[in-house]
């Protein structure tokens, strides 16, 4: 069996796990919970195997030794690895907190990311390493960055949930903030999905595709009517999230997840992700850049955005410890941190130019 079959198994497993976790929450049946955890674990193991097989395939093609056979060199592989980190973090949380409720929120993200890869027809071929990537720092820099991204993703989910549970008044700033952020977030995901379905055939690689076709089916369409409609539809959607945001609140409350637990999880994930990000993302990245290009810091967009993200999370930590920020304020900072992370990971490659362009294609 090759790696793609194992990846296939894990995709299916995560989607089944999502169903099982939701069923577990609805019926409160502990057997269902155990089934959900089992399916997730099977998916995780399968994905781990797939990762190693792909590493082996990479090794055979590249012939550059184990350190240079890390399948983390394009968008497809990085998304897969992101999902792997996400599930690993989730399983740790489930085990540590003895709480399965988050499964229903995390597995859909994993399933959606994997489905997105399939629907988009993203380039799954193994490409040999270009000279700039032929470094032993690849392993340390990229894996640590992604582990940090995954912890930030979880802190995003928990802080949005925190805001959802603790706000009720539709006119309060915090309520508006989280509903609008979530609304825009989902709108963008959906419009990107529409792009993929519309233009799938035209572009050869997903990267080239995103660069030339992003939002072309919606916000940037040639037809003014479609543009107008897209904005109107997004606005309506954001409005609906704002109008019915309390449903999410009820849902989370019914899962008996306390705001304190959410706040604690947000903090813990950032407290783990921040030092890993600093070391793996910024420092190892700088050392690598120093050895490859002779400049440890050149203010290229990827570096600059990493620094911005770093500032936001540094702010989170200082506000929390020195100013004693708690509640809505600190949760909002965590949300902004992940928006910045997302831009560092995807936005820079897709929208801006710079030395890191190989990260996108």
């Amino acid at each position: 069996m090759d790696s793609s079959q194992f990846f296939g198994i894990s995709s299916i497993a995560y989607i089944l796990a999502m169903v099982a976790y939701i069923a577990y929450l609805v019926f409160r049946n502990s057997t269902l919970g155990i089934i959900a955890t089992t399916i997730t674990s099977v998916g995780f193991i399968s994905q781990t195997i797939a990762f190693f097989i792909r590493g082996k395939e990479f090794y055979d093609i590249g012939q550059m030794g184990i350190m240079r056979a890390i399948p983390l060199t394009n968008l497809y592989e990085s998304l897969i690895f992101f999902v792997w980190c996400l599930i690993l973090s989730y399983l740790i949380i489930e085990w540590k907190y003895k709480n399965r409720s988050f499964g229903a929120f995390i597995t859909p993200i994993a399933g959606m990311a994997l489905a997105f890869i399939d629907i988009s027809g993203m380039d799954k071929n193994i490409h040999p390493l270009i000279p700039a990537l032929q470094s032993n720092w690849l392993l340390a820099h990229v894996t640590l960055s992604f582990i940090a991204y995954a912890t930030f993703a979880i802190s995003f989910a928990t802080s949005i949930m925190y805001l959802a549970v603790t706000t009720g008044n539709k006119k309060s700033g915090a309520y508006i903030f989280w509903t609008v952020t979530l609304g825009i977030f989902i709108s963008i995901l959906v419009t990107m999905g529409i792009d993929f379905l519309t233009f799938k055939v035209v572009a050869r690689t997903s990267e080239a595709f995103i660069k030339s076709y992003l939002f072309k089916a919606t916000f940037r369409s040639a037809s003014g009517l479609i543009v107008l409609f897209s904005y109107a539809a997004s606005a309506v959607f954001v409005y609906l999230v704002w109008r019915y945001g309390y449903v999410l609140k009820k849902l989370i409350e019914s899962f008996s997840i306390s705001p304190d637990l959410l706040d604690d999880l947000t903090y813990k994930n950032i407290a783990i992700g921040f030092p890993i990000f600093t070391l793996g993302g910024l420092i190892f990245g700088a050392i690598w850049a120093d050895q490859a290009w002779g400049k440890y810091w050149s203010w290229d967009p990827k570096e600059t955005w990493s620094l911005i993200t770093w500032f936001v999370y540094a702010f989170y930590l200082h506000a929390r410890f020195l100013r004693g920020w708690r509640g809505h304020k600190i949760a909002i900072v965590a949300v902004i941190g992940f928006v910045s992370t997302l831009f560092t990971y995807l936005g820079v490659n897709l929208l801006l130019s710079g030395l890191h362009s190989y990260g996108g294609g």
Binding site: H127, P128, I130, P131, A132, Q134, S135, A271, I272, F274, P275, T278, L279, I283, A286, I287, D290, Q291, A292, W293, G294, K295, Y296, W297, W299, P301, T304, W305, L307, I308, F311, V312, A314, F315, H318, L322, R323, V348, L352, S353
Partner: protein
């Protein structure tokens, strides 16, 4: 209050300005927001590009907007005086904030744990009680060894009708935050040292040429103090594709016109991730280019059908001989990247030497015999009816693009990174844990009262204590 403020000296006021968290917040935000603008506006780019970009947002007003942004330094923002000034304010803020808080923390760190009175112990966030069978001495042994198992070294203090065992771990981890702050300052010092005492330049060297200078971005010449020569440059590709596999240059350092041995070799091979260092100057493989001259040499290895082999090099239009025959070959045409379109026509598909090919016209005693395209990357094209003509290289036609850097501050930056790793580890993954265990005799048994505190991650420490207690029961 207002009186007090007026009485403050200027030093105090500057101090309190720089030690304020508000300033930190403002600096964080301003650096972040301006950096966002700096990543959208392409730095150091052609004005046209940025005007085009701006026109998406500002329409016809974009040239004006561009002029405003340009005059404010946004087109080369990260080197503008005000951005550098912001970084200095950030550094000053960081230093003074740290100094402001350090004494308080230092007082805790320098004081080892002491036995405490009941009143103080009652204020501790973690408290547990239990009764152990047996006398105090017995309990003392049990608790000491239990503490030892989780890595605490126990101290004992005798007090009225009993004793207190106290222990701590990770006292110095409280300094983690300050170590991290200090490391940022170190890195900034390293960066400043690099800017003042180093340079960042580039140099294009055609194969077979040497240079004693490198060039700054503004065209200024930087003398190297020695000469550097490029013997050869080569791009290699993955099989059957135009994906580059490696960019390699073979360089020689010359002092007073004589080659210098580096690691025992006169010629050093450099690659993208492995530069050449000499006398504090580092040469990185950063780009390359193709600019053939009429002096560029075609290099062949020619073998006749009966196995006679000869290496030849010749200029465009010159001829060579297949050893032991009357056959002559002449380089009649060249393409740096020969491709074939769907109709079978040949064309040059790239400006670089992606797929170098020569058209060789063969003659026997002056009479035309046959022509053949010979491709460097495809050995099957080397065979001709009268032997083998291996096209080895077109030499003296490519130049290597080197990044030339001197940075005496880089070691400070690396040291700062190391210190930061230590600081972050202490700040996030260690904690200062203190535990006091009071033992009291109670009718032949021993009453054990545990009080403990930790500066972060209380739940984990509580768990550990629970486990410890569980062990005592058993």
């Amino acid at each position: 209050m207002s009186n007090k403020k007026e009485n403050q000296g200027i030093v105090d006021r500057v101090w309190s300005f720089f030690s304020s968290i508000t300033l930190a917040v403002v600096v964080f935000s301003v650096i972040s927001l301006t950096s966002i603008v700096g990543t959208i506006i392409e730095q150091g780019a052609d004005p046209e590009r940025n005007i085009k970009l701006l026109s998406k947002f500002f329409g016809d007003a974009s040239p004006t907007v561009f002029r405003i942004l340009d005059s404010l330094g946004f087109t080369n923002m990260f080197h503008s005086w005000w951005f550098i000034a912001l970084l200095f304010v950030f550094a000053a803020n960081l230093i003074i904030c740290s100094l402001d808080r350090l004494p308080r923390i230092w007082n805790i760190v320098k004081e080892p744990i002491k036995p405490l009175s009941i009143d103080l112990l009652n204020t501790m966030p973690i408290k547990r009680e239990m009764v152990l069978k047996g006398k105090i001495d017995n309990a003392k042994g049990v608790i000491e060894s239990a503490l030892n198992r989780i890595g605490f070294k126990a101290n004992v203090h005798l007090q009225d009708n009993g004793l207190q065992i106290y222990a701590e771990r990770g006292r110095y981890s409280r300094l983690g935050v300050y170590v991290t702050h200090f490391s940022i300052i170190l890195i900034l010092i390293g960066a400043v040292a690099g800017i003042f005492f180093g340079f960042n330049a580039s140099l294009n060297l055609l194969e077979g040429t040497t240079s004693a200078v490198a060039y700054m971005r503004n065209g200024k010449e930087i003398p190297l103090g020695f000469e550097i020569g490029c013997n050869d440059f080569e791009v290699s590709f993955y099989e059957n594709s135009d994906t580059p596999k490696s960019y390699k240059s073979w360089l020689t350092i010359l002092e007073n016109g004589r080659p210098v041995k580096i690691n025992g070799k006169e010629v050093t091979e450099i690659d993208v991730n492995s530069p050449l260092r000499y006398k504090g100057i580092t040469f990185y493989q950063s780009s390359y280019g193709f600019s053939p001259t009429k002096d560029s040499l075609f290099k062949f290895s020619v073998t006749s059908n009966d196995g006679k082999k000869q290496d030849v090099q010749l200029k465009f239009g010159e001829s060579f001989n297949i050893p032991g025959t009357n056959i002559m070959g002449k380089v009649a045409d060249f393409s740096p990247a020969l491709g074939i379109d769907e109709a079978g026509r040949m064309f040059t598909y790239a400006e670089m030497m992606n797929n170098p090919a020569v058209l060789v016209e063969f003659t026997e005693n002056g009479k035309p015999k046959y022509n053949q395209w010979i491709l460097k990357r495809y050995p099957q094209t080397w065979r001709v009816p009268d032997g083998m003509v291996e096209f080895k290289d077109l030499w003296g036609a490519q130049y290597t693009g080197l990044q030339v850097r001197k940075d005496p501050g880089v070691w400070i930056v690396y040291l700062g990174s190391l210190v930061m790793a230590v600081g972050l580890y202490a700040a996030f993954f260690m904690s200062h844990r203190r535990i006091w265990v009071t033992l009291k005799d109670e009718k032949g048994s021993t009453k054990v009262t545990i009080a403990a505190s930790v500066n972060k991650n209380k739940a984990a420490f509580e768990q550990k204590i629970e486990k410890l207690l569980g062990g005592l029961h058993g």
